[in-house]
C-alpha cells in the first residue's frame, strides 16, 4: 500500500534481455512523471525486490527465463493488490488469452512489437488502477461492426403496405390468423404470407417482437396515425 501524493508512476521493469530493458527505459524515463524504482531479469528476483522498491506499476515480460510473467504477476498481486501490472507479450494473442490475463488482474496487455507510445498510453491510463484494453488488441480477431439506427416507429411502419399494416395491427391484438382471414375476407394462406412479410420487412424474428413494436407504436402515435 503506497502513499504517492505526487501521483508519479513508480516503475519496476522486468525483462530478460538487458538490451530491451535499456531501449524501453530510454524512451520511458524521459517522461517527467515516471520514476524508475527497480529492474530485474528474472521472476524470482522481481518478487524478492518488489516490497523493498514499492513500485506502483510493474511492466513484466510474459516469457521469463525462470517463470512465466503471468505467474509472477499473480504472486506480485498477492503481495500487493494495488500494484498495476502491464504484461508485455511477444506476439498477438487471442481474445480468450486476453480475457485470461485481465481476469488474473493484469491491467493492460501490450505487444513488444507495438510502438512505445502504445506502452506510454497504457501506463498513463492504468496509473490509477483502471483496466486499459487497447482497440488494436481487442480487434485482433476482427468482427464486422454494424450500425443500426432505430428509425421512428412510424417511419418503420411505412415500410409496410396498407394491408400489411392492418394485419400487423390485428396480430398485435393477439387475433388468431384464421380469425383475421375471416374478418378481412381473404384466405388463411394470404394472411400467413402477410405476416411473414411484415416480420421480414421490420427485421423481426419472432411474433412477440412485432407485438411489442405495435404496443409502443400505440403509445407513441396510434391516435395520430388513425390506422384502426
Amino acid at each position: 500500500m503506497s502513499l504517492n501524493p505526487a501521483n508519479n508512476i513508480r516503475l519496476f521493469l522486468t525483462m530478460t534481455q538487458r538490451i530491451y530493458r535499456d531501449v524501453l527505459l530510454h524512451d520511458l524515463i524521459n517522461q517527467e512523471d515516471i520514476d524508475l524504482v527497480g529492474e530485474s531479469s528474472s521472476g524470482s528476483e522481481t518478487l524478492s525486490l518488489l516490497s523493498a522498491c514499492s513500485p506502483t506499476t510493474l511492466i513484466i515480460e510474459e516469457n521469463l527465463k525462470d517463470n512465466d510473467g503471468l505467474t509472477i504477476s499473480e504472486m506480485a498481486l498477492e503481495q500487493n493488490p494495488s500494484l498495476t501490472i502491464i504484461l508485455l507479450v511477444d506476439s498477438d494473442i487471442s481474445h480468450n488469452r486476453l480475457s485470461i490475463y485481465h481476469d488474473s488482474g493484469i491491467k493492460s496487455v501490450v505487444s513488444k512489437t507495438q510502438a512505445i507510445h502504445d506502452l506510454s498510453r497504457a501506463l498513463n491510463y492504468t496509473r490509477s488502477g483502471q483496466v486499459y484494453i487497447d482497440a488494436e488488441r481487442y480487434r485482433l480477431i476482427p468482427g464486422q461492426a454494424t450500425v443500426k439506427e432505430a428509425r421512428g416507429n412510424i417511419e418503420k411502419l411505412n415500410l409496410l403496405s396498407d394491408r400489411e399494416q392492418q394485419v400487423a395491427m390485428l396480430i398485435a391484438q393477439r387475433m388468431p390468423v384464421m380469425e383475421i382471414a375471416t374478418q378481412l375476407g381473404v384466405s388463411y394462406k394470404t394472411i400467413h404470407t402477410h405476416k411473414e412479410r411484415v416480420l421480414t420487412k421490420l427485421d423481426f424474428r419472432r411474433l412477440p417482437e412485432l407485438i411489442l413494436f405495435m404496443k409502443r407504436l400505440k403509445i407513441q402515435k396510434l391516435q395520430e396515425s388513425n390506422l384502426l
Binding site: P5, L70, S99, V147
Partner: protein, 500 residues
C-alpha cells in the same frame, strides 16, 4: 460466457444528429452500434436485445433520461455511461443515488478510455479476489471508517451516529496515512469508508481508489464541502464510489447512507463468497480429473519401477505445497483450452523419458556408492561445480541429475544441501532456509503450462522414484510456495558398505 470474438453490442442514445455522427466516426469500427433518438426506441432495443447489449451510452445536453436507470433495472451488470456537456454536481449526486451510472465522461471525450471501458465490460473483466479477505468471517459488528482532517467534526459525527444506533461501529482517521493503517487493522471487518476530498497528503478520491484496488468490496463514499464536479466525476470513474455526500454533514442522512452501504457491502460479499465456493468446487473436480488422467498414463510404469504407492506419495506431497488459489482465469483456461490434455501428455512424456533412462542404469555397487558420496560431497562443499554422467553410470547419477535440476529451478546450487552419513545411511536434505520455490505445480490452478514447471516437477518425481527404487526413503515437506526434501539412501549392510 459470451463469445470473445464478437464485437460488443452498444446502445447509444443521442439528442443531436451531430453527436450521433461524431459517435459513429469514433466507434463505428469498434462496436456493433444501436442508435436511438428517443427513450421509447431505446427501451424497445433494450427489450429486444436484452443481455446481448454490453453497454448503454447516453449523450444528452439536459434532462438526463431515465434510460440509464431503466437499463440498470433490467440488467444491473450492464455498463452504463453518461456523456455530458456540462453536468452539475446535483445531477451526479442524484445519478449515484439512483445507482444509474458506472462512468461519466465530459465532452470532448477520450475515445480510448470509452473503448477500453466497453471492451472490459464486454469481456466481463472482474476485480480480482483478495485471497486474504475472502474467507474471513466476522462475528462482531462491521466497521465504518470516516476520514477527515477536522477531528472535531468527525468525533462529533461519530457521537451522533452512535446515538442514532448506526448499524456499523464507527472509527475515525484524521488523514489518509491513518486511514490506510486502520484499513489494514480492520481488514476483515471494514465495510465502508467515507472520506473527505480535501486533506493534506493524499486526497480523498486517491484514498478511495487505493482502497478499491486493495479490496473492491469495501463501499466507498466521498464527501466534500466544495462544489467540485470534476473531483466527483474522477471519483466515479476511478474509485467507483457509491455515493457523494455534501457537507455540512447531516448525521441522520449519513446514518441512513451507512445502512444502505452496509446492505450493498453484505450483498457483494455474499456474492463473492458464493462465487469463490463455486470456483473451489469446480477446481477440486479439475484436480481430481488431472490425478486420474496422470495415474492412467504413469501408474503402471512408475509402480513397476519404484513399488506401489510411489506415484500416490508424490501426488499427495505436491498437493501439500500451497500455491495461489483458483481464479476465474485459471478455471477458464482449464475449461476452454487444451491445457488439461497437454499437461497430462507433456508431464507423462517427460517422466517416462527419464524413467526409461533410469531403468537402463546399473544398480549401486560397493564402489560406485562410495564414488557417488564423494562426488556429492565435493558438489555440496563447492570444490567441484559440475559432474558428468553417462548412460553407463549407476542410478546414483540420476539422483545427482534430478537434484541439480531441482535446485536450479529455484535458483539454488548444491550448496543448499546438507549431507551426512550415519551407520552406512546417506542423508541428503535441503537446508531449512533453502526450500525449492514452487509458485505453481501440476495440481495448482494453472493459467499456462511452462517448461520450467514440467522440468522441476518431473525431476522431483524422478528423485522420489529412484530413491524408492533403491529402497531408500524420501520425505517431501510442502510449505507456502516451496517444499523441502529429505532423502536417506539405504544402508547396504556393514559388511559391504564402504561408508560404514
Amino acid at each position: 460466457m459470451n463469445s470473445k470474438n464478437e464485437l460488443p453490442l452498444v446502445l447509444y442514445r443521442f439528442d443531436q444528429p451531430s453527436a450521433r455522427d461524431e459517435f459513429i466516426h469514433s466507434f463505428g469500427n469498434d462496436f456493433e452500434l444501436l442508435l436511438c433518438e428517443s427513450d421509447i426506441e431505446a427501451q424497445a432495443e433494450l427489450e429486444k436485445y436484452g443481455q446481448k447489449i454490453s453497454a448503454v451510452l447516453v449523450e444528452q445536453d439536459t434532462n438526463y433520461s431515465s434510460l440509464l436507470e431503466l437499463s440498470k433495472a433490467l440488467d444491473p451488470h450492464r455498463m452504463c455511461i453518461l456523456i455530458h456537456n456540462n453536468i452539475g454536481l446535483n445531477e451526479v449526486v442524484s445519478l449515484l443515488e439512483q445507482g444509474a451510472i458506472d462512468k461519466c465522461f465530459a465532452k470532448p471525450y477520450d475515445c480510448h478510455v470509452i473503448r477500453s471501458e466497453i471492451y472490459a465490460a464486454h469481456m466481463k473483466v472482474q476485480p480480482r479476489f483478495q485471497a486474504g479477505t475472502r474467507e474471513s468471517r466476522v462475528d462482531t459488528r462491521y466497521h465504518a471508517l470516516i476520514v477527515d482532517d477536522e477531528p472535531l467534526a468527525t468525533h462529533y459525527l461519530k457521537k451522533q451516529l452512535d446515538k442514532l444506533n448506526c448499524p456499523c461501529e464507527v472509527i475515525v482517521a484524521d488523514d489518509a496515512v491513518e486511514a490506510l493503517a486502520l484499513f489494514r487493522q480492520y481488514r476483515d471487518s471494514l465495510a465502508l469508508v467515507i472520506s473527505d476530498q480535501r486533506m493534506p497528503g493524499m486526497l480523498g478520491n486517491q484514498l478511495l481508489t487505493e482502497i478499491l484496488n486493495h479490496n473492491p468490496n469495501i463501499i466507498r463514499i466521498l464527501t466534500s464541502a466544495y462544489e467540485e464536479v470534476d473531483v466527483a466525476l474522477n471519483a466515479v470513474n476511478e474509485g467507483q464510489i457509491f455515493r457523494y455526500i455534501r457537507k455540512p454533514w447531516n448525521a441522520e442522512k449519513i446514518c441512513s447512507c451507512i445502512e444502505t452501504a452496509l446492505a450493498e457491502f453484505l450483498s457483494k460479499k455474499g456474492q463473492m463468497v458464493e462465487q469463490q465456493s463455486l470456483l473451489d468446487k469446480q477446481f477440486q473436480q479439475i484436480v481430481l480429473n488431472r490425478e486420474i488422467a496422470l495415474f492412467e498414463c504413469l501408474g503402471n510404469e512408475v509402480d513397476a519401477y519404484a513399488g506401489k504407492g510411489s506415484l500416490q506419495y508424490f501426488f499427495d506431497s505436491l498437493m501439500d505445497v500451497q500455491t495461489l488459489p483458483p481464479t476465474l482465469s485459471s478455471l477458464r483456461v482449464s475449461e476452454e483450452s487444451s491445457l488439461e490434455r497437454e499437461l497430462v501428455s507433456v508431464f507423462s512424456h517427460a517422466v517416462l523419458t527419464k524413467l526409461t533412462k533410469a531403468s537402463k542404469q546399473a544398480e549401486f555397487t560397493k564402489a560406485n556408492l562410495l564414488r557417488f558420496y564423494e562426488i556429492l560431497s565435493e558438489l555440496v562443499q563447492g570444490t567441484v561445480t559440475q559432474f558428468i554422467t553417462s548412460n553407463e553410470d549407476p542410478v546414483g547419477a540420476e539422483i545427482l541429475t534430478s537434484l541439480q535440476q531441482l535446485l536450479e529451478s529455484s535458483g539454488l546450487g548444491f550448496g543448499a544441501l546438507e549431507l551426512a552419513h550415519k551407520n552406512g545411511v546417506v542423508m541428503i536434505k535441503t537446508k531449512i532456509d533453502k526450500g525449492i520455490s514452487t509458485f505453481k505445480h501440476i495440481f495448482s490452478a494453472l493459467t499456462r503450462l511452462t517448461p520450467q514447471m514440467i522440468e522441476q516437477q518431473s525431476s522431483t518425481l524422478m528423485l522420489v522414484l529412484v530413491v524408492r527404487h533403491l529402497g531408500g526413503n524420501i520425505v517431501i515437506k510442502g510449505g507456502k510456495q516451496e517444499f523441502l526434501i529429505s532423502i536417506s539412501l539405504p544402508s547396504m549392510g556393514s559388511q559391504n558398505n564402504p561408508l560404514c
